[in-house]
Amino acid sequence: MMKKKTIALLLAAMLVLSLSACGTAKTAESPAASAEASPTADKTYTVGICQLVQHPALDAATQGFKDALTEKLGDKVTYDEQNAAGDVPTCAIIANQFVSSNVDLIMANATPALQAVQTATSTIPVLGTSVTDYGTALGIDDWSGTTGTNISGTSDLAPLDQQAAMLKELFPDAKNVGILYCSAEPNSKYQSSVITKLLTDMGYTCKDYTFSDSNDLQTVVTSAAAESDVIYLPTDNTVASNTEIIKNVCVPAGVPIVAGEEGICSGCGVATLSISYYDLGYATGEMAYEILVNGADPASMPIQFAPKYTKEYNADIAATLGISIPSDYVAIAAE
């Protein structure tokens, strides 16, 4: 009986506490709320950022987005930045939170984040980034470059045709190209199918090597290294987090790697034609400014791609493997 009372008391205390917390918050809130209501030139904007997971490339995109928007709007913009910590269902919780608090714009970083936000709202403008193929991600069959809905954004699709050409330029005598990626990442599979076609047309034989997570990566990469002359790594998040494993297998085996982006290349690759996720996020931030301030309609804004590509190479690994790199490549700065 005592216990029951204690619990009842505890629960009651928790309730009272939470109520009082709400009370103080509310009174402090009111001046800010009234400022928000006045539709003058100094209108403030709230932007919700939903990011799938803590990850160098995604973090860079978010940072670029915020830098671009803050540069233009200063302190007139506030961010509600949420990260699902890799939990897919949490994206829906975050999306719901943004929609119910009626933010002015939502930036969704990575595919599941964009999909959850798309499901949550058909009215609030949404910008995606770090998404490779919007047609597939949003379930739009007749993809034309614009969504026709409240969604636009930037694609992290690397210039695959130019990457294939680069692979040909560096390794003209290779025969077998292994493409290594995580089977859980739709964007990687898409890139693999595109570059396989390009490389096959150039006379290479391509084979996919997929792993499910970092635990079976080493086994898969070992067999990939044994059977391939060159390995191609698409812009794969799991690969990006595990470059050390790949390097420790491929460099001793003498198998060079062409990577889809700079981060992976600096970890384990020889060369890359890189996009910068920071620039991508920055471009997304500029789109956000157009929507918030100039009233642009995301329905008619075409999906943008990375503004510039850089031919880069990893000096350490290239030297170890004895590969001579043409002079128009830039060495990746050591971190």
Binding site: K3, K4, I7, A8, L11, A21, C22, T24, A25, K26, A28, E29, A32, A33, Q51, Q54, D80, E81, Q82, N83, A85, G86, D87, V88, P89, T90, C91, A92, I93, I94, A95, N96, Q97, V99, S100, S101, N102, T111, P112, Q115, A116, Q118, T119, A120, T121, S122, T136, A137, L138, G139, I140, T149, S183, A184, E185, P186, K189, S212
Partner: protein, 317 residues
């Protein structure tokens, strides 16, 4: 001053406005927790199949809806896929003698490949603007009602079933397998049956979740066993607190679903507090740990007499 500014930046209206969505998601996961309750509590079997079968349910549902099947049909197929997953775990365990936890893990990892095959990739969107879905983040209100209807019907069915001879045999198997065997219950069949029912429910919940969030993803089931267990235990603790000894079987089921709701309310609260996002999992774990610790601490306090008695016995021996 900084603390004041922090509180000022929190808008309680936003928290209240986000409640319905969190409740909807909580009820959907509550259905999943019903499945976990059957294996974990009734059968006393830690079934790790669910991380895979949750995603299987989502994958089957989305693929069938995209192929033109009505959502209820797709959900039925999802249930069947979950039952099959449970069957595999059950047979691995009972026929091949693989320990329960390993049997679940084996099925779970094989379902990763199966799900990739079903989805033909890692992720598939089902656009709410183009297909008729029975629950969706777009219409939170109606989603709550639909999910609650599902939960109520399931609770009634489960209550009825676990009162029948077969259902009671499953419960007996969980309580005391040796005694049940001695009473002529085929405990292997009962284990398989319970695993099938459990994973059927989990897959149904996965199918609802995929519609609710608008896509199926190969990773959507990762860690779902943790959420399921948390919901079961939170439900237990709250049920005990409100009903104590009057908690009957129906109320236990209801509180399992309620546990799922509480879990997602907590997640929503942590997000609303704008804690550094890196701390999200830690904070959620701390809150669940509190719920886990309460029954233990209570029983420890309750049993002080028994403890004293035991001590006395030891000293006298």
């Amino acid at each position: 001053m900084e603390i004041l500014a922090y509180f000022a930046s929190l808008n309680p209206l936003n928290l209240i406005a986000s409640l319905p969505g969190n409740v909807a998601q909580g009820v959907i996961w509550g259905i999943m927790a019903l499945g976990v309750f059957i294996t974990f509590r009734l059968l006393d079997f830690a079934d790790l199949t669910v991380d895979g079968s949750f995603a299987t349910g989502g994958a089957v549902t989305v693929v069938l809806i995209l192929a033109g099947a009505p959502a209820p049909v797709a959900l039925l197929a999802a249930i069947v896929s979950g039952i099959l997953a449970g069957l595999v775990t059950g047979l691995l365990h009972t026929r091949l003698g693989i320990p329960g936890i390993l049997a679940g893990i084996l099925t779970q990892i094989s379902l990763w490949s199966v799900n990739l095959l079903i989805l033909d990739g890692a992720n598939k969107a089902v656009n709410v603007d183009k297909y008729t879905l029975i629950v969706s983040l777009r219409n939170v209100g109606s989603s709550i009602i639909t999910a609650l209807c599902f939960a109520s019907v399931l609770i009634m069915l489960l209550y009825w079933y676990f009162g029948t001879e077969q259902g009671s045999a499953i419960r007996a198997t969980g309580c005391n397998p040796h005694m049940s065997k001695a009473q002529g219950i085929n405990i292997d069949s009962m284990k398989v049956l319970a695993l099938c029912i459990s994973n059927g429910l989990v897959a149904l919940s996965g199918g609802l979740m995929a519609q609710y969030q608008g896509f199926a993803d190969i990773k959507m089931g990762q860690g779902s066993i943790v959420i399921g267990l948390a919901a079961v235990i939170i439900g237990d603790v709250l049920g005990e607190a409100f009903f104590a000894k009057h908690m009957n079987f129906v109320i236990r089921f209801i509180f399992v679903v309620f546990g799922g709701v509480v879990y997602y309310l907590v997640v929503g609260l942590v997000m609303w507090l704008r804690m550094p996002t890196d701390l999200l999992k830690l904070l959620t774990a701390v809150i669940v740990a509190i719920f886990l610790a309460v029954p233990y601490l209570r029983s420890k306090a309750k049993n002080s007499f028994k403890l004293a008695g035991k001590r006395g016995l030891r000293e006298n021996a």
